[in-house]
Symmetry: D2
Subunit: 427 residues, 4 copies
Amino acid sequence: MKLSDPSATVSTSSSLITRFNLIRKQTLAICKPLHPEDYVVQPIDFVSPPKWHLGHTTWFFENFILAPHLASYQLFDERLNWFFNSYYESQGPRILRTKRGNMTRPNLERILEYRRYVDQHMQAFLDSREAQLPEELKYMISVGLQHEQQHQELLLMDIKYILGNNPLFPAFAEKKMPESGNRPVNYLPVSEGIYEIGHQGTDFCWDNELGRHKVYLPDFEIQDRLVTNGEYLEFIQDGGYENHEFWLSEGWEWLKTLELKVPLYWYPRADKWYEYTMAGIGPIDLNKPVAHISYFEAEAYARWKGLRLPTEFEWEAAFQIHGKAPTLNAFLESGFAHPLASETAEDNQLLGHLWEWTASAYLPYPNFPRFKGALGEYNGKFMVNQMILRGGSAATPISHIRSTYRNFFHANMRWQFSGIRLVKDNH
Amino acid sequence: MKLSDPSATVSTSSSLITRFNLIRKQTLAICKPLHPEDYVVQPIDFVSPPKWHLGHTTWFFENFILAPHLASYQLFDERLNWFFNSYYESQGPRILRTKRGNMTRPNLERILEYRRYVDQHMQAFLDSREAQLPEELKYMISVGLQHEQQHQELLLMDIKYILGNNPLFPAFAEKKMPESGNRPVNYLPVSEGIYEIGHQGTDFCWDNELGRHKVYLPDFEIQDRLVTNGEYLEFIQDGGYENHEFWLSEGWEWLKTLELKVPLYWYPRADKWYEYTMAGIGPIDLNKPVAHISYFEAEAYARWKGLRLPTEFEWEAAFQIHGKAPTLNAFLESGFAHPLASETAEDNQLLGHLWEWTASAYLPYPNFPRFKGALGEYNGKFMVNQMILRGGSAATPISHIRSTYRNFFHANMRWQFSGIRLVKDNH
Amino acid sequence: MKLSDPSATVSTSSSLITRFNLIRKQTLAICKPLHPEDYVVQPIDFVSPPKWHLGHTTWFFENFILAPHLASYQLFDERLNWFFNSYYESQGPRILRTKRGNMTRPNLERILEYRRYVDQHMQAFLDSREAQLPEELKYMISVGLQHEQQHQELLLMDIKYILGNNPLFPAFAEKKMPESGNRPVNYLPVSEGIYEIGHQGTDFCWDNELGRHKVYLPDFEIQDRLVTNGEYLEFIQDGGYENHEFWLSEGWEWLKTLELKVPLYWYPRADKWYEYTMAGIGPIDLNKPVAHISYFEAEAYARWKGLRLPTEFEWEAAFQIHGKAPTLNAFLESGFAHPLASETAEDNQLLGHLWEWTASAYLPYPNFPRFKGALGEYNGKFMVNQMILRGGSAATPISHIRSTYRNFFHANMRWQFSGIRLVKDNH
Amino acid sequence: MKLSDPSATVSTSSSLITRFNLIRKQTLAICKPLHPEDYVVQPIDFVSPPKWHLGHTTWFFENFILAPHLASYQLFDERLNWFFNSYYESQGPRILRTKRGNMTRPNLERILEYRRYVDQHMQAFLDSREAQLPEELKYMISVGLQHEQQHQELLLMDIKYILGNNPLFPAFAEKKMPESGNRPVNYLPVSEGIYEIGHQGTDFCWDNELGRHKVYLPDFEIQDRLVTNGEYLEFIQDGGYENHEFWLSEGWEWLKTLELKVPLYWYPRADKWYEYTMAGIGPIDLNKPVAHISYFEAEAYARWKGLRLPTEFEWEAAFQIHGKAPTLNAFLESGFAHPLASETAEDNQLLGHLWEWTASAYLPYPNFPRFKGALGEYNGKFMVNQMILRGGSAATPISHIRSTYRNFFHANMRWQFSGIRLVKDNH
């Protein structure tokens, strides 16, 4: 994986056209190492074919910007417009999500044409009138770019799932990861009090971060780095996956039904523990953070350890006190598509490397404001049966993260780049 | 349904043996109107055969009290002991939950023998030594009685499901319900501030109510009665079940898959709306509270109405300010097994009639203390993918309710006696 | 099980009213040992609740005889008439087959009332006018009685399934079976030639036996008794269930999916092989015929043995040469509900004991005549994906069997009383 | 689709190396119009990705010929050898059939390398020693070529399914089909008597055609061409898909579950009936044979028409009397991948155009000889729950067909090129 140079880490203050070009190019850079065959499949219902991501992100601009706002615009192909709709039910009929992987046409080449066509029209559109665009439309384009960045992360998740479940275990990102040292964990204190939670200011954020509000928190201490493979291995070797006491009831059923005994992408062999990373299959690095963990596993690990997961409010409060600026090597731009070890106490990994499971269900903040119209559907629709993750990952574009960012997945999902950080009660 | 006289509403200060006798008798009184055939079936996986409830509650006392603590005790039948284990996985093998409905033996008669046998031994046990029992054991017996009361409610839920889905719609509770008047809804104010949430004092409570803690709440107003059938009918007639905008994404899928268009037990006919209640099938009473509503439906109704559900913290704070003592006609002891209408502003229905869906996911309170051993497994195991309900219902024994009681169900469940109360933000 | 005395083995020459009374009484005699609870359940989709059989056979007479032909007849209960329809789709709406086991009402008592009501009307109907009834109507009543006899066998199959899958293994037929001796198998020769296959004469038969026609058969030899438990055990102990070579591809998948290793109702324990028979659970009698075998198992056993199953034409030709009259101890009237061993060469077991799997698929005979109307639907509808069995079983009424009787089941079914007889090619 | 010139219709008398080269080239010619993306997917469990066919047919030669018989042979890639095993369970572990469509690697390019590698080694192997090869080995190579020809037909079936279920309906074979005339159907007589059925002589045949034997047949008459789209449309327009009377019970369930109303690849639109053929989507040609029909549909059509399907014995006897030599335009080599209309009485279509459903279940012939070893597994394994089809289709290589060829599919399958011919009883 050869990503665009770091300047691709577009600051939100760049012009729309600059950001548009950098972000759209980055999506293609991510896919570079794939063969045409890799773009097609949907090995499991929650994975989308890479081809589909390329089309769907393009459709966003055609459908919400060009078609309604560029007077002379002709749809590239009416049938493709129909194809690449996804969850926006108010935008009319869509193809069944689970059938996406059967669609060999439009083929990759045709979709790349579609991208070029829409990119050219977007460039022309922005070139001539960016300055005069109404705020609402500029905001809509921003949403399209944030949406594309989300799909960059999804692309990496899906590509990893496609290749990491292929018995040939093909490598994707050839870049060599640095050796990792071993560092004991410490605890960062957070004091009792009322904290303000949620997005502040005028920068972009998703609707679910709005509704900044007060939360009362007791004293607690939070780990200063992510839980490592080595630490998690102790849990496994202590019978973690065989003892129902550590597990939520639904987690135990999940485990038993799927006959799971290790995290996703771990492949125990006779002599050793192996892991599939984007660099291919190899022995597990015990000092790296444990990744591709479900909420069920994170919660069970915490119980076994006698500690607990932070709530999302605790996580955000901890960041307010101990947070640092994001660094490139913890994000998509590193080119590793994999978390690195924290080598110093300085590096507390709150941002990047892995999304951190919290003990909070995904629910609206008090006074959660619902957007009107098609976009308004998005986040509020999913506020049930999912858990919050915080902090971003090695598959997240660095310019896409915020400390108030609320990611969410079902408790059994683990193809996202997710990990664990624990909390200790102070009393 | 002829229930024991109101004195069955045992106060927690009665002696254990008094409470034991009253509660055990009440369970049988509930089942009185059933035919032997009604005790056997499990029409859907979440329903248990009434026969099973009778055996399982008995098993609790045999297994946790008599077998370990009564020196000379002989199991009534080893195979029955094995049969009636349920979720207590640490108590060894159990029969698959979904197979319960195929087990015609032990038959009812045999299970009633089992009850008599265990009751006699429990009476002998308590008779001679209640005074000297160690606190821990007394607590365990209390748990057994609370457990039996929970199963009294489950019995009514399951019986209603079995009879209410039978095309002959047999009546169960013949007692006639009073006529209902129509009363406009009002809003009760609750002021911004820090509230203490969770159980206080030394009376019995479940583990999930412990960990009393502070919560910061903004100003809000809460409805002074439950939402009625008439109000809910407006939602239906406004296309509520046909418009995805009102629904959570999973709710919409649920609706579409099951082709739902009305609450459970509503049976629209050519000319009129009918409802199955325990008194049989009949025209819907528009002034009674809408019952057997899933979280998905409650949430959709709230969106359609432009209001929202209270969090469980808001509900508990509202009760601290506006709560009243429970009254018999709102609970199991009424013999209606159905909610009544609120006729006066005095009667705000916070306790009884219907469990009220809250906007809170079922999660541990801060410092949630986990019990050790077999019983400890219970509540903590289920803290994922469920929503909190508050207040008790017409199927709850009056002595079983508390304002801090946390009930929980999956968002799609609606065979419990559940209803809706809404909240308005004050700003 | 205390069945009516042997005179219940009604000859087809008896008057209709005699046969009606004997057969209807026999159905109740079969059910005698059941508890009300046993009548309700449907542990698997292909099993029907005993209660349902009692109602459905009664419905036949109400629906096809009384309602259309007895002028003043009032339906016993319109809703029950609707309930007990089954496969006769032309008779209007019916309840879903897999939901039958959830219907606790009408309860047993009510269904017995229904039987009494219909029986009284049928008796009155036949009493006064049997002599004058048109042939067509007499034929219809005969069909109703044959139908009831089929359901007598189904009742025993279903009761055995309900009790034999209950971990308490309750006994049903207390009558003690005789000891069995061991007898080596011999082969009966059948010569090459053209044979006439299918029903002949004017006695009752099902439509699928009609279309008597010529079939050319080569020389072959057929075993002179059923395969025994002891012989089948050799197959198991030789790895029969672990070696895919012996199995049809679909049989192997079936086996692996259900994790089968023995016939239905065999329960291997640490030291010994046990079998559930209607007399309860006990050690397997090695000399008795192996029962409750699927076609997949019969076919695999034949392959392992280096022999093959007979076609249904070969079976019928063999009967034409070697057949004997049926004897009571091989049929329902024995009261064993279980096959006995063949003690002498005289007793070749072609009729009774167990239905014998043939290598023939269930297909129409040339010139198969289809009945018109509701009854016509029955047999022809099922002529795909089923295999033919011949000869009747210990659950078949003796007056119900014929050498031309074509029974049929799917290749994976084994709750019927089925067994194996093999053929050797003579060249 | 540009197929090799007609000389590709290799006669079985050609040398092995000639046949090998022609047949292997033909497989690639078939795939020529595909994009790499088209090779990957498995839209439904019974379809295999085209990529897989290319690899699996190659694996046959590597695994059964080169690896055991060419001394110095090195496997091209051990992991690919493992990948491309399919039903030959005795050849060790294989990938789950339903997971094939998730495997993007090995990609097409790699599989084409595999083919080249194996082809070169086979050529070298045959070049130097074809004359001296033992008969058994020559036979094995013949089997490999027949196997490859079977997969040529499967390739066309699967490609059509992949493209014909894509809403863009891409064309595959651009060759224009001739206009069709309308010709009334006539009946060809076959006289009562004993017919010899099964393969005769020393030419290649599959094991299931062996065991030539006598069958007695009554008089009958058989249609002199395939049933047309126009004739089938009458059935549809007469309510054929809405009336359960015409259908086998399992067929009716199948229909209702899948909500079918037309043959596969028929797409009714507002004004007209459309059909997807390999030439793309277009109005249905009423004079062409109706194709992609399941057994359920063929049987229902026959019932509606008051006629019946022939048994496979009748079909073969009819061919013995009325059969003609195969002609190129009825087979794969036509390049249409679609049946043509019969324009003259001369052209009775018994060979080619469409496989014809018979009323015979797929069962062994008397004395069916089982092959030993891995290949022996194939045909005998499937002799249950399938129906016989006869005559070959527009997707069958002309050199692959014989009048004794027994094809078989489950009664609900219709992605094969299947059609209908009816029989009238003569009495």
